[in-house]
């Protein structure tokens, strides 16, 4: 015997079922499956590996529990790598992160030759990163590099840009100060999306350039800035190829970052458990910072 409640809920459920946008769901399913398979499964696999002295063949090897994490947390080399990674992140924020924002703000004011400037800022992104790094390495060479050559003309140097442990981090980060690239275009597009009426109204109300930037332009860029911030954070923590080419982690471990440690422990030392543990720690660090960043941006 059906109750009146059951009779009432049945059509509602059917209605909900019909309301589901099935076409969209079906089209999105392959990518959801791919994400689960290629993003989430590897992550859980990495966590699983981190609990073992992992062997590739006839794995998983000896169960260690959290021993790999304990070993890492006691390792001076690991903490040096964590310190270096944070140092690179902060240097990137200080020297590089804001540059495309400023460039986009100025570019937004320039109407003549605007297309040319945009094109000019974008072209270098077509140069392979590694080629750019090799070029910078030549420029930095203390014996025959361009930079020391120019400085010697004014009686300075020679400096060991990539061989001085106190200087090398700056030498790696500072080339990013040229800005440009896709970041600039993203900010510029966001600025173009701001209604001209609002800006004109602000001008009529007597708002100067500084006020317009602070009160209208920057708030409209907030979302893109947050996305770029998270991207910068992820890139700093996850990539290491440029460090590998610039210095290989030296001199004296001054550029050894945790991404490089993941690579070396896995493919040089074949300690997959340790490598997995470092990856999980990186995930936690990036996750925590992103969480607080999102929280902070919501509050503001």
């Amino acid at each position: 015997m059906q109750t009146s409640l059951q009779i009432k809920t049945k059509p509602i459920k059917l209605l909900r079922w019909r309301k589901i946008p099935w076409t969209a769901v079906i089209f999105v399913m392959p990518s959801v499956a791919a994400f689960l398979l290629f993003k989430y499964y590897p992550f859980f696999q990495v966590f699983y590996m981190s609990l073992f002295d992992y062997k590739l063949v006839d794995g998983p090897g000896r169960f260690l529990g959290l021993d790999n994490y304990v070993l890492l947390l006691k390792s001076t080399t690991f903490w040096i790598a964590v310190y270096n990674t944070f140092a690179f992140f902060i240097l990137t924020l200080v020297f590089v992160f804001w540059v495309p924002i400023v460039q986009a703000l100025f570019l937004n004011e320039i109407h003549r030759w605007n297309r040319f400037y945009r094109f000019m800022f974008l072209v270098p992104t077509a140069v392979p990163t590694i080629a750019g790094i090799i070029l910078m390495k030549w420029i930095y060479n203390p014996d025959y590099g361009l930079l020391n050559g120019l400085l010697s003309k004014v009686g300075l140097g020679p400096y060991g840009w990539l061989s001085d442990p106190h200087m090398v981090k700056y030498a790696i980060v500072v080339p990013g100060i040229f800005g440009g690239g896709l970041g600039l275009l993203l900010y510029y597009s966001a600025l173009q999306g701001i209604s001209k009426e609002i800006i004109e109204a602000a001008q009529v109300d007597g708002a100067g350039p500084w006020h317009r930037m602070r009160m209208i332009l920057l708030p409209n860029l907030k979302f893109i800035i947050m996305i770029q911030f998270m991207l910068t954070l992820a890139i700093t923590f996850l990539t290491f190829e440029h460090i590998l080419v610039y210095t290989g982690g030296g001199p004296i471990n001054s550029t050894r970052v945790i991404g490089l440690m993941v690579y070396e422990t896995a493919f040089k030392e074949y300690r997959y458990g340790i490598s997995g543990a470092i990856s999980v720690i990186i995930f936690l660090i990036v996750g925590i910072i992103t969480y607080f960043q999102l929280k902070l941006s919501k509050v503001s």
């Binding site: 079906i26 990539l162 061989s163 982690g249 001199p251 493919f267 040089k268 074949y270």
Partner: protein, 476 residues
């Protein structure tokens, strides 16, 4: 009206998707034969192995080898390789070999390890480099070849030096694929310009310093010696420790490791490097620059002397340098009066995950390619096509000097002399390199650095983070 239109659209979309899925399934290749067909045999009887080596099974077998050369069709080397492949299949018609190029990736080591982990590795592989084969054996990536080796007719044709890294706990895991020896290379014309005899390379540490001073000309951006202080610094530094009478580590009888970073030979070697940099000032300013940059300096007359592998003669030619301008000699001897060279190279290994029939076929393939006949054929071809061969042979009964016309005799002799006295690299190098390199770099970059203190710090850290956990693992 609109609702019925939407409903129809949904059905059309669904039908399209289903058709695409069916089409994709229909067009896809049938599932490949799984690489893991059966578990590797744990014990093999010599009789069974003898059957594999002397009377090959006639059942058809298909193996995959990552040895397809990459190059254009006009490359003369490609012609020889194709001939060699065809010769093998003619001799063993029941074995079909799929020659595949090494898949692209960050490094070939990384690609191989990843493929093995995924069960799609080749049946045989020729780039198990000397320093990594031990780790690969521990990871279960390499088949124990001892039963095959015991029955192998040519086993006495390989020297203990070339088999050293492939011999682990008395078992044989690889056959040499290619080999080089490290030595001191120098630019003869720079020697002549500096008033030095180009046929008399420095033979001791003191002589080396004298030569390097004469060859250092800051006004020409020229240094006497390109020092390798980058992250691979431990590689070349170990030679100096040998020359001072020691080694960076000791492998104990029970398999554990003892670190010798603070031993007197290591201190002397690091003091010598420090003097080259800070007292004699005969090395490049950027002592931590890369290996390739050091080579560039040597090729471009910015460095007169460098430590160089014997199989890189082709790189010299490719950089437009006449081989007559290159001298090659054993390392200068250190305070212990020793100067062993280091041999490097790679081994052929067999996949332990593949079937016994494939392992047998892979062994036949490897031993065929390493046979005296094929090695000499390769050298003959290299000579006739005007190429630069590897001066060093992996086999005792093959003499490359008989096939060399383009390489000056003194260069060949220099390599042969360096190869007379060789030593294997220090134990656990892949894990300990970072620690000793840190101490080396500190001393090279800071004139005031205390050598003993830096070495002690490196040893303490390496002991705690590598040696202790490693030794505990061994004892478990």
């Amino acid at each position: 009206m609109v609702k019925s239109q939407m409903r129809r659209d949904k059905w059309v979309s669904l039908i399209i998707i289903l058709s695409m899925v069916l089409l994709a399934v229909g067009c896809s290749k049938p599932a490949a034969e799984p690489a893991i067909t059966e578990k590797p045999p744990i014990e093999e009887t010599p009789a069974a192995t003898a059957a594999a080596t002397e009377e090959p099974p006639k059942e058809p077998v298909e193996i995959t080898i990552w040895d397809k050369p990459i190059g254009n069709e006009n490359d003369p080397a490609l012609k020889f390789v194709k001939e060699a492949f065809a010769d093998f299949e003619a001799k063993y018609p029941h074995i079909k070999v799929n020659h595949e190029a090494i898949p692209t990736g960050e490094t070939e080591r990384q690609v191989f390890v990843t493929a093995m982990a995924g069960g799609s590795g080749p049946d045989a592989y020729s780039f198990a480099h000397f320093p990594v084969i031990g780790e690969w054996v521990k990871q279960g990536l390499v088949l124990d070849l001892t039963p095959y080796w015991n029955e192998y007719a040519d086993k006495d044709q390989y020297t203990p030096a070339v088999m050293g890294e492939a011999t682990i706990d008395g078992k044989i895991y690889g056959l040499p694929h290619h080999m080089y020896v490290m030595g001191l290379a120098y630019r003869k014309h720079l020697f002549t310009e500096a008033g030095l005899d180009p046929n008399k390379p420095p033979a001791t540490w003191d002589e080396f310093v004298d030569y390097a001073k004469k060859l250092t000309k800051p006004e020409q951006n020229q240094v006497g010696y390109a020092l390798l202080g980058m992250e691979w610094a431990d590689w070349f530094f170990e030679y100096y420790v040998w020359q001072a009478g020691g080694d960076l580590t000791t492998k104990n009888a029970d398999g554990t490791v003892t670190l010798n970073f603070t031993s007197e030979p290591v201190v002397k070697a690091l003091q010598y490097w420090k003097d080259l940099k800070w007292t004699h000032k005969v090395v490049q300013k950027n002592v931590v620059q890369g290996y390739a940059e050091n080579h560039n300096d040597f090729f471009n007359n910015r460095a007169a002397m460098i430590l160089f592998p014997s199989d890189a003669a082709i790189a010299v030619v490719q950089n437009g340098i006449e081989l007559t301008d290159i001298g090659f000699a054993p390392f200068p001897a250190g305070p212990a009066g020793k100067n062993p060279s280091q041999v490097g190279g790679s081994y052929w290994i067999i996949n332990p995950q593949t079937s016994k029939a494939k392992q047998d076929a892979a062994w036949l393939y490897i031993t065929y390619m390493l046979s005296k006949e094929m090695q000499e054929k390769s050298l003959l071809f290299t000579r006739d096509s005007g190429q630069i061969p590897n001066i060093l042979s992996i086999r005792k009964d093959v003499d490359p000097s008989q096939f060399i016309t383009k390489i000056p005799k003194d260069l060949v002799n220099g390599v042969a002399k360096a190869a007379e006295n060789v030593q294997l690299e220090y134990f656990l190098k892949e894990r300990l390199g970072t620690y000793i390199t840190k101490a080396i770099q500190k001393v090279l970059l800071d004139e005031k650095a205390d050598i003993r203190a830096e070495l002690q710090a490196a040893q303490d850290l390496a002991q705690r983070e590598v040696a202790d956990p490693y030794n505990q693992d061994i004892k478990k």
